[in-house]
């Protein structure tokens, strides 16, 4: 009946929408692999080349930028995993005075994120002499209210009987955390890590303010400097650099697509 026709129409509509949505990105990728003279004139049979990537890689210290970004996300991720675990564990397993008030104070960071406080945070950093350093970029992000919230929700689901059984066996606070709470929260750690890595790989405004010298710039800041200054605004070069700096995330996403989406969902819903 008309059901079959409907389905064909709807499929076509969906395919067109999806194709249009991807068009700016696909065109950017296409330009990155073609000579500059084709960037303003699309020709479907233009010859492919990787010269833009080689030229862009040499025109700016992208290897330094990559290294800085890796250091930055590693510092933040490790600090987040440890610090958020400790706080969440304290809130779930113990009772103490002002616990509710303290938790509310922590959750303030969800609303007033470090990006909004760039003015005063920059003054703090310059007072302690940490501007233009990677640790300076990382400092405001070392504890995350989002991470604390997520882990607290997860730890709350750990059965009390498991905890008590371990205590009877003579396990102390740290053994209980390490052998019971952390293993049970494993999927959440994975989800949180993915969110954290992609957030800090992509973060721009704060690193832009804090850094001055190429030696400490992360990829995003390096890319923006390249796109406006170093490239002489040759579009094929800019597109090649853009693709190059985001490629690791894109490849990781395509490989881990299923887990990534599932984990994003879990991170968002709980």
């Amino acid at each position: 009946m008309s059901n079959g026709l409907n389905k064909i129409l709807l499929s076509t509509f969906a395919a067109v929408i999806a194709a249009l949505w991807a068009l700016p990105f696909i065109y950017s990728v296409w330009t990155a692999f073609h000579d500059e003279k084709y960037s303003a004139n699309f020709q479907w049979d233009a010859p492919w080349t990787i010269a833009n990537f080689l030229e862009a890689w040499q025109a700016a210290p992208f290897s330094v930028y990559f290294f800085n970004t890796l250091i930055l996300i590693t510092i933040i991720l490790i600090a987040n995993l440890i610090l958020c675990t400790l706080v969440a564990y304290a809130f779930v397993r113990y009772k103490f005075r002002w616990a509710g008030f303290l938790f509310a104070l922590i959750m303030v960071q969800l609303l007033i994120s470090p990006e909004i406080l760039i003015v005063e945070n920059y003054l703090t950093l310059s007072r302690v002499g940490l501007t233009d350093t990677i640790i300076g970029i990382a400092l405001p992000y070392l504890t995350s209210a989002f991470g604390i919230f997520l882990l607290r929700q997860t730890f709350l689901t750990v059965p009390k009987s498991l905890d008590e059984a371990a205590q009877i066996e003579g396990a102390g606070a740290w053994r209980v955390l390490w052998n019971i709470y952390v293993p049970l929260a494993w999927p959440i750690y994975l989800a949180y890590s993915l969110v954290s890595i992609s957030f800090h790989w992509n973060n721009f405004l704060w690193p832009l303010i804090v850094t001055n010298s190429p030696e400490v710039r992360p990829l995003t800041v390096g890319l923006s400097v390249f796109a406006t200054v170093d490239s002489g605004v040759e579009w094929s070069l800019v597109n090649a650099a853009t693709l190059m700096t985001t490629a690791p995330l894109i490849i990781a996403f395509i490989i881990f697509q299923r887990q990534f989406v599932a984990n994003f969902m879990r991170a968002g819903i709980k």
Binding site: I118, T124, N202, N239, T242
Partner: protein, 291 residues
């Protein structure tokens, strides 16, 4: 029953994380409030208490008025559009149509990209005479439009970029919500003779409310805190037509080096965010309980 937290453990578990949090969230917020009552120090004289002078300047600042209007249009335009598109995308991806994996990839890809990369891609897309937008207009014999260089189109062009980047992320949350809708509810509605549109409006939509609250609050915070594309694509121009509040704070503080006014603007922003968040929660919660 939970045990009391021994003081030693409390210091180990809460000491470092909480002091970091206070140092970079609460302290700067309070410091901004204090600094907003002082003027800038210069090489000749130190900073001096000026009372509400900085706040009076807020009211006389024509650029700020423009920036606040822009931010309002930006938030009111991008949030509903991104949410609407996200629901549509989630329905498509969740359907039994062929090619849903590719569709999901297409919709979600922009979310993975850094805003800087997105800005570069769209800068190229919009480039007058060169970009794909101009080439497509050219095919239809239309003159090329300077999307980012004209006061009429610059803000709308930025809003489109933001929707393009964010809708895919919100889609993921709606996808999760759609997949958790119990099938027996839908089957029951179908037995009663409801069409798929009726089922969506009467059965599925109410179940999406909590997701919408979550997404809307997130989108609002993002609309305020993400201005990377403004810095890269237009620098707020032309003539302030695409400047958003956080961009203005950045420009006043780090280009014009006016830290006192920057602090005052920060206070304004924190207050606005607080009011908006409370308001949004209250309105959406009330609607949620209504049914």
């Amino acid at each position: 029953m939970n045990k009391r937290l021994p003081i030693g453990l409390a210091i180990i578990m809460l000491g470092v994380p909480c002091s970091l949090l206070v140092a970079f969230t609460h302290y700067p917020a309070i410091q901004a409030l204090i600094n907003s009552f002082w003027n800038n120090a210069s090489s000749r004289r130190p900073s001096r208490f000026v009372g509400v002078e900085n706040y009076q300047a807020l009211f006389e600042d024509d650029r700020l008025a423009q920036v606040l209007i822009n931010s309002t249009i930006y938030a009111l335009g991008t949030i509903p559009l991104a949410i609407g598109l996200a629901i549509g995308m989630a329905l498509l991806v969740n359907s039994r149509l062929p090619g849903t994996t590719l569709m999901r990839l297409s919709f979600f890809m922009p979310t993975m990209l850094p805003m800087i990369a997105v800005a570069n891609i769209w800068l190229f897309f919009y480039a007058p005479g060169i970009g794909l937008a101009s080439q497509i207009l050219g095919i239809f014999g239309l003159p090329s439009i300077n999307f980012l260089g004209s006061t009429d189109t610059s803000l709308a062009s930025m809003m489109f970029v933001a929707v393009w980047k964010e809708a895919g992320l919100f889609m993921i949350f709606y996808l999760a919500a759609l997949q958790s809708v119990p099938t027996n509810l839908k089957d029951a509605a179908k037995l009663e003779g409801a069409g798929s549109v009726r089922i969506f409006i009467d059965v599925v939509m109410p179940l999406l409310r909590p997701t919408t609250i979550f997404v809307a609050v997130n989108a609002l915070i993002n609309a305020f805190r993400l201005v990377d594309h403004v810095i890269v694509m237009t620098e707020g121009g032309p003539n302030n037509s695409s400047a958003l509040l956080l961009y203005y704070i950045y420009e006043v503080t780090f280009r014009q080096r006016d830290f006192a006014y920057g602090a005052t603007l920060t206070v304004l922003m924190v207050i606005m965010l607080g009011i908006l968040a409370i308001f949004q929660f209250w309105v959406l919660n009330r609607k949620a309980h209504y049914q």
